[in-house]
């Protein structure tokens, strides 16, 4: 079998792009601020000659691209993952230098912002993982996020408690997931169609309630309290890592737990083995006494709870109020992250972080003023998603029984 030519070609194109960027890099220097006030020890700002740095990166990328060509065409070998990762970092760095040249880039702010934006994506992709691994295609992540966002805003406003807000959000997510599950498992409706219909339903429902109920009672129904930042002692003071990872809100900490929890549950526990067997070959699971339908319902609904929780981030974490269709396609990006992450919770979370980074870059660049039109920057996360899923994922296989209802005789 021949090795796929995708990787070397993609690397070549991106290298070419960087070479194009290099002459356009304006400003002499780029200053990167790494330290924050709370750090345990101070780190001075890094200062680079912008153009020189981009040229250095371009050369590095060129070397990697040539190597990849050599491996693919002469040796018929795969390009090692590490090479692709280094290349990716170099490319992103060169774009960053180009965008921030002549200004100061605050590294921690950029990264912490990316993490925040990735929160709903990560929760969404966990929902996707639990659902698809058990054999149910989950297009309804969007609906689950939106339902969570809406419910948490209303409940937290009424009760003035974020905790009750997120509990309500999880319940709402479970309900939406249950809808998807019943139609897919019991009534054997096509799972993709069901997912889309569920999304349309939730968008319609929340928009309707928003304009009829919330709009007139903002103070009572749509002014929820917000998550507070909790800095974890010591950990929160480690340079870079501290401010980015451990000076966050409750929901972000819950997210860490969710990702690790879903990973362990799926791959290290009895429950997970059964879930995956049902997603691969439900009849085989049935023959060893595993309850296929029940396993499917439970896994999909736990996923719904996580996505609902993720939805509360929009209202209680980010905006501070519910807005019409405020999830804005995050559910679909979460699904893309899941596929990019090969249905593995850890990889999916990393992919979601990447997408969050792209989104945040767009905000950050708008602030320093960018050489690119803002419409183009708006496209960035989505373009990255398409490239990632279509270009880099290549031939991966999802769970074999995903999308196929199980019918007993």
């Amino acid at each position: 079998m021949k090795q796929s030519k995708k990787t070397p070609i993609a690397l070549a194109l991106l290298t070419f792009l960087t070479v194009l960027i290099a002459p356009a890099v304006a400003g002499d220097e780029i200053e990167i601020q790494i330290a924050t006030k709370t750090d345990l020890f101070p780190i001075p700002n890094l200062v680079f000659a912008a153009q020189g740095f981009v040229i250095f990166l371009a050369v590095l990328m060129l070397v990697l691209a040539v190597w990849s060509f050599y491996l693919t065409f002469s040796k018929n070998q795969k390009t090692p993952l590490i090479a692709t990762v280094v290349f990716g970092i170099a490319f992103v760095a060169s774009v960053l230098v180009w965008l921030f040249a002549g200004a100061t880039m605050t590294l921690t702010t950029l990264l912490a912002g990316s993490l925040a934006l990735a929160v709903p994506l990560i929760f969404g992709s966990m929902s996707g993982a639990l659902s698809e691994r058990v054999g149910i295609i989950n297009i309804a992540i969007e609906g689950q996020l939106l339902a969570g966002a809406f419910t948490s805003a209303v409940v937290a406003s009424i009760t003035d408690s974020v905790i009750l807000g997120i509990i309500a959000a999880m319940l709402a997510g479970v309900l939406v997931a249950a809808l998807l599950a019943v139609f897919s498992i019991k009534y054997l409706v096509d799972q993709i169609i069901t997912g889309v219909v569920v999304n349309v339903l939730i968008i319609g429902l929340t928009s309707f309630l928003f304009s009829t109920l919330l709009a007139d009672n903002i103070t009572v129904l749509n002014q929820p309290p917000r998550f507070e930042r909790i800095s974890i002692p010591v950990l929160g003071q480690i340079p870079i890592i501290g401010p980015v990872l451990f000076n966050q809100t409750l929901i972000v900490y819950l997210m860490y737990v969710a990702v690790i929890g879903v990973f362990l549950a799926l791959f290290k526990t009895r429950w997970g083995l059964r879930v995956r067997s049902v997603g691969e070959y439900p009849k085989a699971s049935d023959t060893v006494g595993i309850k296929v339908f029940r396993t499917r319902y439970i896994s999909v609904m736990i996923g719904g709870a996580l996505a609902g929780l993720g939805g509360s981030f929009f209202t209680l974490g980010q905006v501070g109020a519910f807005g019409k269709e405020m999830t804005n396609g995050a559910g679909y990006i979460a699904l893309a992250a899941l596929i990019f992450g090969r249905w593995n919770p850890i990889y999916a979370a990393l992919a979601a972080l990447l997408f969050g980074f792209a989104q945040n870059l767009q905000y950050a660049v708008q602030i320093v003023g960018s050489p690119l039109p803002s419409e183009f920057l708006l496209m960035l996360p989505y373009v990255l998603t398409v490239i990632a899923v279509a270009g880099l994922v290549g031939k991966v296989r999802g769970p074999a029984a995903a999308g196929k209802p199980y019918i007993k005789s």
Binding site: K268, L273, A284, D286, G289, S409
Partner: protein, 499 residues
């Protein structure tokens, strides 16, 4: 434990697959179930195992009526089953597959994979299997997968064990081992239901035989009855168990394999400088214990074997390096070893499966349009000709009995314009009546003047069908002999002994 089935009836729509079947299996006995392809044997066993719900009748264990709502209940009641279609998750390891459903765990439901490995090793060594618990099942050959299925069934400590055609993919040696295991289990007092189409096995291990045809019990037979008698009871007519063929009418050698060498992904040689030529009008059989390179040879011809060197020519044209589609288009008929994996699309109808790789050309297509009428006509014809037992041509492939699936693959491959036919174990899982028919078809293809390459693991089939027999051992052809070579000599060759 004494198993009794009373008046079991099972319908699929209007079709009655089991019609008031009575069956008693005593503890400490091996009970053989004989019947044609599609007779309803697997259906009956699936009802017993709780996988299907019966439409009538009852299941009794030691006189107690059982109500199984699913396989979980049947397992709890002490029933274990080796399924005809592997119930293995291909992406899981052997250990994961074996423990699925009753996993050893540590605290908090975490899997104890080490304990799982131990269990696999323990059972393997008890029955003389050699299986790596960490191997991914999808990478294993069908013979090894079959052993994994057997280990799975033995692990549960069942008192009633059902073996649904476990020997179809085993080598003769492995079959003997399995029959030894069955005797051992019988002597431990278990009741065993054994389904097979191979009459030699039935006569060797059965304590009791029940024959079913078209969903009904037609009677009991004794292991001392002759093969001919058993065969005619199954099929309902006289069956000729030997192959009839006229002397070969040989033409030029149009199919040539030269210096074929191949490596597997681990880098070891799986084909070692294999060369042979097959003349038009000749059946060339590759015999040998499975796993000695036959699979790789067939795959190399089809074009799905990586890392091969050498040449394979058909009428002077090189096949090696071409895509599968090109290979098939150039006139290669191919019957794969694993029909469910490579030969059929389970969710397609019989008609669609009969067309499959020819969906883009006449008579089935005109331009981009499918000629459905032509297809349906063709499918009806083949259904009759190959005696495929199905409700209609619109039944899905996965609803067919195992043997009937095999017939669909054969019907498709044999009804094309062929320049060479390559078939791996073409009669695997077929009943004696169908074997007779398939052998006739293969001989007819040969007499039609094409070279035929058959991979056979059954020595009888190899010597009866072949005009020449090549024996493979460790990726090499160790001898090409005439089919009337004495069995002992063939046996020696198969063990790699060359003078």
């Amino acid at each position: 434990m004494r198993l009794e089935l009373k008046q079991i009836t099972k319908k699929f729509g209007d079709f009655t697959a089991n019609d008031k079947i009575d069956l008693v299996a005593e503890a400490g006995q091996i009970h053989c179930l004989l019947g044609e392809n599609g007779a309803g044997k697997s259906t009956l066993m699936n009802v017993l195992y709780g996988l299907y719900q019966a439409d009538g009748g009852e299941i009794l264990l030691d006189g107690q009526v059982q109500n199984f709502s699913g396989p979980g209940d049947a397992m709890a009641a002490g029933i274990g089953m080796v399924h005809q279609h592997f119930m293995l998750v291909p992406v899981f390891t052997v250990a994961e597959n074996v423990i699925l459903g009753h996993e050893p765990t540590k605290a908090l439901g975490f899997l104890d994979i080490q304990a799982a490995r131990e269990r696999v090793r323990e059972i393997s060594s008890r029955f003389g299997f050699d299986i790596d618990p960490d191997a991914i099942v999808g990478d294993l050959s069908v013979g090894v997968q079959q052993r994994v299925e057997i280990i799975k069934a033995l692990l549960g400590d069942a008192k009633v064990l059902i073996f649904d055609e476990p020997t179809a993919v085993l080598t003769p040696q492995e079959t003997d081992e399995l029959m030894g295991i069955m005797r051992q289990l019988r002597d431990e007092g278990k009741s065993i239901v054994f389904i097979t189409h191979k009459l030699r096995e039935v006569r060797e291990v059965a304590d009791k035989i029940t024959v079913i045809r078209l969903g009904k019990v037609v009677g009991e037979a004794s292991p001392t009855d002759s093969s001919e008698h058993l065969a005619s009871m199954m099929v309902g007519r006289e069956v000729d168990l030997s192959v009839h063929k006229n002397p070969a009418n040989l033409g030029e050698a149009s199919f040539k394999v030269n210096n074929l060498t191949a490596f597997n992904s681990a880098g070891s040689k799986v084909l070692d400088d294999v060369s042979f030529e097959i003349q038009k009008g000749e059946i060339f059989v590759i015999a040998g214990v499975q796993g000695n390179g036959q699979t790789e040879l067939a795959e190399a011809i089809l074009g799905i074997q990586e890392r091969v060197t050498g040449s394979i020519t058909l009428e002077g044209k090189e096949l090696l390096g071409k895509s599968v589609k090109k290979v098939l288009d150039s006139g290669v008929g191919f019957v794969p070893e694993d029909r469910t994996e490579d030969g059929l699309v389970a969710d397609f109808t019989i008609a669609e499966n009969l067309m499959l790789d020819r969906s883009d050309r006449p008579p089935f297509a005109r331009g981009v349009q499918l000629q459905l009428k032509k297809l349906h006509q063709f499918a009806e014809e083949k259904l009759k000709q190959f005696d495929i037992r199905a409700q209609s041509i619109f039944s899905k492939a996965k609803q067919l009995s195992g043997g009937n699936q095999q017939k669909v693959v054969l019907a498709r491959e044999l009804s094309r314009d062929l320049k060479v036919l390559v078939a791996s174990q073409p009669t695997r899982g077929l009943d004696v009546g169908s074997i007779e028919f398939v052998h006739e078809q293969i001989v007819a293809a040969r007499d039609g003047g094409i070279p035929v390459l058959i991979v056979a693991t059954e020595l009888d089939e190899a010597t009866q069908l072949g005009d020449r027999v090549a024996v493979m051992y460790k990726g090499k052809i160790v001898g090409i002999v005439s089919p009337d070579t004495p069995r002992e000599e063939l046996g020696k060759l198969m063990a790699g002994v060359t003078k």
